[in-house]
Amino acid sequence: MNPLEIGAYTCTSAAGIGLAAMKRSIAARESGLRPNDLAVCGLDTWIGRVDGIEKVEIPANASHLLSRNNQLAWLGLQQDGMLDSIERLKRTVSVERIGVIMGTSTSSIGRTEEAFANLLDDEQMAPEFRQPHVHTLHSPGIFVAAVTGLAGPSMTISTACSSSAKVFASASRWIGQGLVDAVLVGGVDSLCLSTLYGFNSLELISANPCRPFDRRRDGINVGEACGYCIVARRGTLPDARMLLLGYGESSDAHHMAHPHPDGLGALLAIDRALERAQLSASDIDYVNLHGTATPANDSIENRVLARRFDSRTKASSTKGWTGHTLGAAGILESIVTLEAMRTGDMPGTLNLEEPDPDAEFPIEQANLAMDIRHAITNSFGFGGNNATLVLGRSRG
């Protein structure tokens, strides 16, 4: 494929609001996870919560879109000069030629939960909750288009935990087909009862800080995050230093909630991404893993690594800092990877203390200083929905 330029990007998670705070947490090996302190949820687990979301005031032109998810989306959009970068982009590309593609697993369902907790006597929603543009999967796309003024096609992708990795694939196709010249891609998912109690019902949440690839790993910590990235046709962004070189999407065709035991879909996603990037596995210096800390995901993903890569390729999961941010994980971990490539500071795997003796591929525990020319990032979701991205640096 024709590589896409990656311009400005930013992310916000429990590991930090904005890039600088996240990089400090990673360097200091300080997790953003905390014991569950949500007043409305009594589950014994740890969560990746972003402080202060409740106090975020969303812009007046989007006040009808109030939800925790859109508050987080707005908080994240104000970091790292992202809004200025969008304004600069508008000076070179007309707003109709800039698309918006957001990824989310649960959109603003936290607001729907609130509406149901406050129903009127006739079981209708109370007037303040009658927000048609909030109780839809497209809520993040509507919100981001409204507050940025971007006027090209806008879409929200919701394929569980691969959602905001797939935003890059769709953006690449839109640009490849000439629908638009640039796309603001993003992802946002916020803490809500649906995912906490849902993953609890599947016995997938941990009562401890999550320990990806550790022998004692026992489940995920649900986290919240958002991230954004400007991607564009080559030659559009004069300062772009990073590239999207490839993407691969696949379906496991196995089970709604369990990954394929041989990692068939994961391997297909990786192979398709490498093929599109015209690279081989030996060209990949770093893999940011899905690495959720469930027993099944990590052992299968480890076997997948062993089948494709040799130990010159380094691999780690960063969920020990952020928790599993579900539909936002794809973009959050893409940005973690882009920053590692830009700075040469590769994050290790926080909370991995006793490597799984059954692991066939070594997972990096410590942070490393290394030159990363090419990297991939994996995102796998319920429904057996997989996406892998190949990232690179631009010359000059």
Binding site: E113, Q177, E249
Partner: protein, 283 residues
Amino acid sequence: MPRSCLGDRVDSLDLAGVGIWSERFASWDQFSAIVRGESVDMTSQPQAKLIPPRDRRRASMFVRMAIEVMDHACRMGRVDPSSVATVFGSSLGDVEITDYMCSALAREPLSMSPTRFHNSVHNACSGYWSIATGAHWPANAVSAYDHSPAVALLEGAVLAIEERIPVLVAFQEARATHTFESIFPARNPLSIAMLLMQTSVCERPLGTLTLALEHDSKSKGLPVTPRLPEFAGTFTASMLDMLIAAAEGSDYSERFPISHSSTLAAQFSPSHLVCSRHRELPT
């Protein structure tokens, strides 16, 4: 110069197959009969026989609606269902499951059903589809509120052209539950699948679909069909006039709003080799 296939109308796709289900018509044949002014006996629920029985029991009505029309579209297009990529689009998704989950969370959160939880993902239909058919191709699930059908069609067309594979686009809305009635106008569920293929691959397509993205600051409402007024309020119904044209074998063009200043111009030209009303689903 940027390539601008859709913008320049260079690329057309064949509409190789269609599936449609509502509480008034269970198949393309029944839909075509209603378009001709005939009456049909229709009481059945979507069978979704493609899903193995064990999984079918776990699948929600929303999933079964989608699988039913996706299966019909593949059979009409005579393609192996494991050979297609999928794009699914809906505004609110499985509103019954959302209603169940939010009610359970408000009353007794620990009672949450794990099956209903994993069925609540927006990509549940594409997940069940891939499991039932063994398809390992890309599967997308998107939403664009009232623009969901047109945006899913655009996304599917772009996928078919870029990746050179058949793409099954499915879009549907369920009936709003009581609590959602005040904000969500759908009173009649409607599910549609359209199988898009590169031209001259399918032997007997229904016709050719040409799509172009246009920039237009004039805001325009969704097209509504006066011939099936009971679907007003169901966003999926914005595609009904195109399907009526396909059933009648007539030309059709429409401009679907997809954002504040973009419209998807869609043009359908029927194949004249075969009259669509005589097409039968192979069994």
